[in-house]
Amino acid sequence: MRPPVWMKLVLLIVLATVMQAMFAHRLQFRGVQPDFNKVVLIGIAVNTSVHVATAYGFLAGWLMGTVVGMSVGSYLVSRMVLGASLGLLELRVFRHNPIVLVFSALTGSMLCEAVFYLFSPQPNAPRWAYQALGESVYNLIFILPVAGWIRRMVPPTPRLNYTS
């Protein structure tokens, strides 16, 4: 019996969060490190709908907040906003185009960091901006393969109809 898709995605987020805590710092380049938790969330969000992506954003934020051990609320909100914003694109653009995917990942990631900063202001704003931008760009290295891999797992979602 094959495990359901949601279980695979939950496991993927858990694994990404654990890897984030263990290996991300080893990939540091000029003080910037990737965020595997966010990469997987983006991969899920661009392949699902707004409410599903928000729910996975909630899980990703909760896990990340717990692993960091502080600013849990900020992680929850910022990840949910990331999931919801990329999930909403389902109604606006064809997200499977690699250029659209990269562009949405970059803007979504920046939006996520901005929301995080709003809820959890950092003492050194220029450094935050550098790290947020650097991390968002660093994440792009992993986005295409991860999003492509998740697309194979997730069945295409039916288009929502908000006009009826």
Partner: protein, 278 residues
């Protein structure tokens, strides 16, 4: 007309937002009280074994790769020499601190008592999961005796402060985090200048609140002052690399290189200052 509130998807999002609010508030309250958080407890109970298993696998692979590249003999020799060097440096700093304490005939008894504190050893499970917060996750929790405000050290020096504890894990705020500050002192007998060592968010620390004429030089060893009652006195922090005069405040500041490379810490000892209650 489309009714937003009757849409199950919108309801789900609202429910999640409410849950996020409750979890955030609950976590903040738990941190403020220094208590464990049952939600964090549940998550860490799932994550910690996965982390532990992954670390064992990664450690094995790393050892294998190192062995292939450098050879067993070279590795053993290197490790032996490194251990010797670390032990000698730690002993030298500890001896210098002891000598000065003996000279001043103060705090001798207290120091001896501090040696009776039985520190807790903990394995590092995770390092700096977020770029914004310099933290460690260690495999030692409330059940093992870990408590908030315990101090994490290695044989090289100060690592950080425990700020959150679950049953089997704890979170340590590293001294390099911008939110971390430690009462510090120049170890040199002619100086003994007191200041506050703060994290900068990179690999260095900033020794601030030094007097205008504080005697601080390149190469000075910085140790914890013990002022404030959180960190025990005399724990090595780092060495002064650069001294700067602030024109605006008229104060002197110093850039300090920590002894401990927090990115490579594998085990830490937890201890606490005298008079601190668990």
């Amino acid at each position: 007309m489309y009714n937003l509130w009757r849409d199950n998807r919108v309801r789900l999002i609202m429910l999640l937002a409410l849950a996020a609010l409750i979890l955030g508030i609950q976590h903040n309250r738990a941190i403020q009280r220094g208590a464990t958080n049952p939600f964090a407890e549940a998550v860490m109970a799932i994550l910690a074994p996965v982390q532990s298993a992954l670390r064992s696998v990664a450690s094995g692979l790393s050892d294998f790769g190192y062995g292939v590249l450098h050879g067993r003999r070279l590795r053993e020799e290197n490790r032996h020499l490194r251990q010797q060097l670390e032990a000698m440096r730690a002993a030298e700093i500890a001896q210098e601190e002891l000598r000065q304490e003996n000279e001043r005939l103060r705090r001798l008894l207290q120091f001896a008592q501090s040696k009776k504190i039985r520190p807790l050893a903990a394995r590092v499970l995770g390092v700096q999961p977020s770029a914004y917060f310099h933290t460690l996750i260690i495999g030692c929790g409330q059940a093992d005796g870990a408590r908030p405000r315990m101090v994490a050290v290695t044989d090289e020096g100060l690592v950080g402060l425990v700020y959150a504890v679950t049953r089997h894990t704890a979170h340590v705020l590293l001294i390099t985090d911008p939110n971390a500050s430690v009462g510090a002192r120049i170890q040199r007998a002619e100086s003994r200048a007191v200041g506050v060592c703060r994290g900068r968010g990179d690999d260095y620390l900033l020794l601030t609140f030094l007097g205008k004429d504080a005697d601080v030089r390149h190469g000075d060893v910085v140790v914890t002052s013990g002022l404030g009652g959180v960190y025990p006195a005399g724990i090595p922090i780092g060495t002064v690399e650069e001294v700067m005069d602030q024109r605006q405040s008229g104060m002197r500041e110093a850039r300090v290189k920590p002894f401990v490379n927090v990115m490579q810490v594998e085990e830490v000892l937890l201890t606490q200052a005298e008079g601190q209650t668990s």
